[in-house]
């Protein structure tokens, strides 16, 4: 289980909390959604869970399978099964996609991956994602379109086989066909790995029609103001955040 307990955090060089007393539990196999107006801390939440250098935890804890991870380095969190699909994946010139993926897989699995079988596996996964296999040999995210970058993130997810996946606005920059393809790949992965938990950060319900979440939460002023099912997302799409009654917080355990 990924448990976020009364978490408060700020930028490293600031004392103003972005998340304030934020709590959430992702049990095995659950799919949760975080929605909220711009600037309420959705991406901050994703980055803080992953241990991004720009943020500091000022209070609370993040527990992964019962153990605190806030003192762990970024790579140690990844090795424990966390995966952040980034909103704007970083371009790294000179490092090829295949070299990076193979090094990452070697590190996560602790085994030396055979180059030939690795390339064959990659090519098969890339076909599933409708990605040109020549992208394996290009610099990481260099010259990739917005859609290709997002598909490449999902390719990495398939290779590294995480237990907890955070999708930070996966749907931004994806056309309708690409969105369907990446969601099909995520669903297939979840089908094959039933204990994997998913945290989806999004502004739009379309991705949720594919991924079918169990819970939708509205984040405002640094904490969850309202929780519900997928209908809450449709309500937000229809009426916006201002018309959402945040006075009636629903506890997801109830």
């Amino acid at each position: 289980m990924l448990k976020i307990e009364k978490l408060s955090c700020s930028l490293s060089d600031s004392n103003t909390n972005i998340l304030d007393d934020f709590s959430l539990e992702l049990k095995e196999g659950e799919k949760h959604v975080i929605m909220g107006p711009n600037g309420t801390g959705k991406s901050t939440l994703a980055k803080v869970i992953m241990g991004h250098y720009k943020y500091k935890v000022t209070n609370g804890d993040i527990l992964l399978d019962g153990e605190s991870i806030i003192d762990l380095t970024v790579d140690e969190r990844a090795k424990r099964g966390l995966f952040l699909c980034m909103q704007d994946p970083t371009v790294i010139d000179g490092v090829s996609n295949s070299e990076f993926l193979r090094t990452a897989k070697n590190t996560i699995t602790g085994e030396k991956v055979n180059l030939y079988s690795f390339i064959k596996d990659m090519e098969s996964s890339m076909v599933d994602l409708s990605l040109d296999t020549s992208m394996l040999h290009r610099s990481l995210n260099m010259g990739f379109s917005g859609g290709e970058k997002k598909k490449n993130e999902i390719l990495q997810m398939k290779v590294l086989k995480p237990k907890y996946i955070i999708l930070d606005e996966l749907d931004s920059g994806l056309d309708v066909d690409s969105l369907r393809i990446v969601c099909d790949n995520i669903n297939k992965y979840l089908e094959e790995n039933k204990k994997v938990a998913l945290l989806i950060i999004t502004h739009y319900p379309r991705i949720l029609e594919y991924l079918k979440p169990d819970f939708v939460h509205v984040l405002k002023d640094g904490k969850i103001q309202k929780s519900g099912d997928i209908n809450l997302a449709f309500e937000i799409e229809k009426s916006g955040y201002n018309d959402i009654d945040v006075g009636t917080r629903i506890d997801i355990d109830e």
């Binding site: 992953m50 380095t73 970024v74 980034m86 790294i92 090094t103 590190t107």
Partner: protein, 192 residues
């Protein structure tokens, strides 16, 4: 088809002077030494791609001068250095287009990565005496970006592994390079 030239300097200061008379790619690898390079484009309509990749442990200096002696010549310089210790590393990079040479392209991109607290200086110079020239320069001195390290580490790579991957990409950044020609240099990257 371009002529390809490999240069590997290992702990010994060197000077090179070439007249370039055909399309040429130069891969210049250097381990801990100073170097002085003079390249003269002596034939019209030719191009030069020059890749300098340098690992540095002591105080060293790299000087390069590219002279466009003929019209419609094209030069692209990519100078990448890694300053490993707390030492000085100076790059003095000069592109010269005299008045008689028109229609030239004279570009340079220079980067030094400081692994520790070394003092690095880049002097990018474009001495252009002709109006019909396309010329650009870029210079960066600093450490590997934290965002890149975060991205790599978020996929399970340790800081050391992430730095190594970035070093390889930074210092051997050409798809076409023949790694058998620079085995010594590749081995040196492993030691950083």
């Amino acid at each position: 088809m371009s002529k390809i030239l490999y240069i590997l300097d290992n702990n010994k200061n060197n000077e090179y002077e070439y007249d370039i008379s055909e399309d040429t790619i130069i891969y210049h690898f250097s381990i801990n030494c100073s170097c002085n390079v003079k390249l003269n484009l002596v034939k019209k309509d030719i191009s030069l791609y020059y890749y300098y990749n340098n690992i540095n442990y002591d105080d060293n200096e790299f000087r390069i001068s590219v002279i466009h002696s003929k019209s419609n010549t094209h030069s692209e310089l990519f100078n990448h250095g890694v300053n490993v210790g707390n030492n000085k590393l100076n790059y003095d990079v000069e592109g010269i287009v005299p008045k008689k040479s028109s229609g030239c392209v004279c570009n340079q991109e220079n980067q030094i990565i400081n692994m520790n607290d070394g003092k690095s200086i880049i002097l990018p110079k474009l001495l252009i005496d002709n109006y019909d020239v396309d010329s650009n320069h870029g210079a960066y001195i600093g450490k590997f970006s934290k965002e890149k390290l975060f991205y790599l580490m978020s996929r399970g790579l340790s800081l050391k592994e992430a730095n190594k991957l970035l070093l390889n990409g930074f210092l051997i950044n050409m798809d076409s390079v023949d790694s058998s020609e620079i085995k010594l240099f590749i081995d040196e990257i492993e030691k950083i």
